[in-house]
């Protein structure tokens, strides 16, 4: 007999997500993903100056601040056919990379590692053995026995105080927790070190963006950082040089800790490479433009249908028609209504709420269901890494091999690339992409310094808005995947604005053809050991790094505790 489980809300994410699953014979047989908040930021933007849109859209969400700012200016620049100076691209690229690295580290260590790491079990660890293990995996200097002993002491004090704080809602002692006490202790030590590491990323964003978390330096037409070699108030060479130690510290942590930990967790939980594939049409976009127009990028992106990387089709430039013409959103199962039947292209998108109850076969989410040429697509680092491999992008291939080789040697058997189509594969892909971005960040730093050395200080091209109507869209390979903003500008004012965000692609409900979305598909056949403690559902959902604040936005939230209802 089947059993219905409702998890509402999913914790340790931004925003409000409800997941329902039906479990039969210890496995998930049906799934629903429901965004429980309504987002109406598009409505706030109507009639406003397009030059202000970036500052408003970066307020949609507390996690993805800079990504909306960047995508918004790209959309307006695309509408105006405006090129921006290369210095502005390099500065934006460094902010993008630092922000994304920050996001990946926080997501892995502080939000989702607790699905795999049993903190309480770490109390039983032998710190000497934990240090031996950690030192055998990496030459990171903070893997020694002193660090492991200190971590154990700290954990004992913390658990002894009764205030579990960030670890309160963990599934300690759950049968699906498989790591040895020593691996758990190593993970807790790295959890603490990750807090230090992510501060370097924040520093980079602050130094370049003038302020953090909400950057101030972006502008339609470039960035507002004047570059000079002699003034204190602007971006000086001295300030640029101050970035480098932070970049180096981040790179070390990513290479010596993050990539290694993800490989180890992947090896110890190798059974999880069998679950969570879901929708295997993958969509991502190129990013880190190095020219004024956005035709040359440091990381590639495109579309892969049905997990077949030989069928990869690239997206090649800002304004790319293949991407532009393929996107539609359906509201058949979402709490909106359109003025006519069928899905709509974002330029024609409508934001008119129409709430019903949670209807299993009808409307059940505040998220719309996006499709690419009529098909559901998974977005995110996994999509990007697979596109990188398909495109022959060497840095992606190098880091992917490193992760797969490390995990294979720990497991004692070869883990193929196809294992990436899984819950654990999404974590691996995020780490691989983060390794690539650390290189990209440093590369942009050197390129900027070289270019300034040649006497080019330009950072801004002034936009002019024509009479009449123009349309444009901007894309960005954000931490959670393909983000696009679409705008129609009439007489210099915003006439329509739609954000098609990564979590809408992944967490969206059933579509016009009643096909299930990536979250829903990825939950199918997941094992459920205990219906009262559905840790497995959280593992798969968290692997996408859900961030619902921009996928939908708040109306009301009176539920004060997490409810897991097993009916």
């Amino acid at each position: 007999m089947s059993k219905r489980i409702t998890i509402d809300p999913i914790t340790r994410i931004e925003g409000h997500l409800r997941i329902d699953v039906e479990v039969d014979g210890g496995k998930v047989t049906k799934a629903w993903s429901s965004g429980q908040m309504w987002r109406g930021v598009e409505l706030i933007l109507l009639g406003r100056d397009p030059r202000d849109a970036w500052a408003i859209t970066q307020r949609i969400c507390g996690v993805c601040t800079t990504v909306h700012a960047i995508t918004s200016v790209r959309a307006v620049e695309n509408a105006l056919n405006l090129e921006i100076p290369v210095n502005a691209q390099y500065i934006r690229n460094m902010i993008i990379a630092a922000h994304a690295i920050h996001d990946a580290i926080v997501h892995f260590y502080h939000l989702s590692a607790l699905d795999w790491v049993d903190v309480v079990s770490a109390l039983k660890a032998d710190p000497l053995k934990a240090a031996q293990l950690a030192e055998s995996l990496s030459d990171w200097p903070l893997n020694n026995r002193h660090v492991m002993t200190q971590t154990l002491e700290k954990l004992k004090t913390f658990v002894g105080s009764g205030q579990l704080g960030p670890f309160t809602n963990g599934y300690w002692g759950h049968p699906a927790m498989k790591l040895s006490p020593e691996v758990n202790l190593m993970a807790v030590a790295h959890y603490l070190q990750a807090l230090d590491a992510q501060r370097h990323a924040s520093k980079i964003v602050t130094l370049l963006g003038s302020k953090s978390p909400h950057i101030q330096n972006v502008a339609v037409g470039g960035v507002s950082n004047p570059i000079a070699t002699d003034s204190q108030s602007v971006l000086t060479v001295e300030r640029l040089l101050a970035l480098k130690p932070h970049m180096d510290a981040l790179s070390d942590f990513i290479r010596q800790v993050y990539l290694v930990d993800v490989s180890a967790i992947g090896a110890f939980y190798a059974d999880w490479t069998k679950y969570g594939a879901g929708v295997t049409n993958y969509l991502s976009c190129p990013d880190f433009p190095m020219d004024t127009k956005g035709t040359q990028f440091l990381t590639p992106g495109g579309y892969i249908p049905g997990a077949d990387i030989s069928k990869y089709q690239p997206i090649t430039a800002f304004g790319d028609a293949f991407l532009r013409d393929g996107v539609e959103e359906s509201v058949k199962h979402a709490w909106y209504e359109y003025s006519k039947p069928g899905p709509l292209h974002p330029y024609k998108g409508e934001t008119k709420p129409h709430y019903t109850d949670f209807q299993d076969e009808g409307k059940y989410s505040w998220l719309k269901a996006p499709t690419f040429y009529g098909k559901r697509a998974q977005v995110g680092p996994l999509a990007n890494v697979l596109c990188g491999i398909a495109a022959g992008h060497q840095p992606t291939i190098t880091y992917a091999n490193k992760v797969l080789d490390t995990a294979s040697s720990l497991l004692g058997s070869k883990i193929p690339l196809t294992a990436m189509h899984s819950t654990i594969g999404r974590h691996a892909a995020r780490a691989i992409r983060t390794g690539v971005m650390a290189e990209v960040m440093t590369q942009n730093w050197s390129t900027l310094i070289d270019n300034i050395g040649k006497g080019d200080f330009k950072t801004f091209n002034k936009p002019t808005f024509p009479k009449g109507e123009v349309m444009g869209y901007g894309f960005h390979e954000a931490p959670r995947g393909l983000l696009s903003h679409w705008t129609v500008i009439r007489d210099g004012k915003i006439a329509n604005y739609q954000c098609v965000v990564p979590s809408t692609w992944n967490a969206g409900p059933r579509d016009e053809n009643d096909a299930i979305g990536p979250y829903e598909a990825s939950l199918m056949d997941n094992p459920i050991a205990d219906a009262e403690l559905p840790l497995e559902v959280l593992r798969t959902v968290h692997s996408f790094d859900p961030c619902l604040a921009c996928a939908v936005h708040v109306v009301e939230d009176n539920k004060e505790v997490v409810q897991v209802k097993a009916l």
């Binding site: 914790t11 931004e14 409505l43 706030i44 307020r59 507390g62 939000l111 603490l192 953090s212 708040v554």
Partner: protein
Amino acid sequence: MKARPFMRVVVLGVGNILLSDEGVGVHAVNRLEELYELPAEVEIIDGGTSGMDCLDQVSNADYLVIADCMRSKKEPGTITRLTGDQIPAFFKTRISPHQVGLSDMLGALNFHDMLPKNIILYGVEPESFALGMEPTPAVAARLPELVAKLVAELTEIGVTILPKAA
């Protein structure tokens, strides 16, 4: 009370300014920065809805003063002051959607022994979270009082704070 040398005070406004009263904390710190000269030991952060991104600035502060909206079933605009041990209890219930980030940040700092030595929270009861970039009249009317309370709090801590010349 006299401020110790090298004291660090962080005033953090949190909230979503796109959702009317949800953004009251951000409006308050922006106004504080606009109207007053603040000495170097005071850092004002417009935290928006972010959590972990503020960790670096908040860690090891001597004082963290938070301005936020807080649902506690009082009259809209009511200002409540919470300190120390009262604050974790406040975070156990999700009163506004961005507390996930802020409570995670404070939890992480606590585990890392970098929690600010003193935490004071000013919460304003919201009337509405409807879409809009301005607070409702009931909450907007209390904004000057909230700013005055923040000024008084800073003065009590020992910070010299003066109105900007008009």
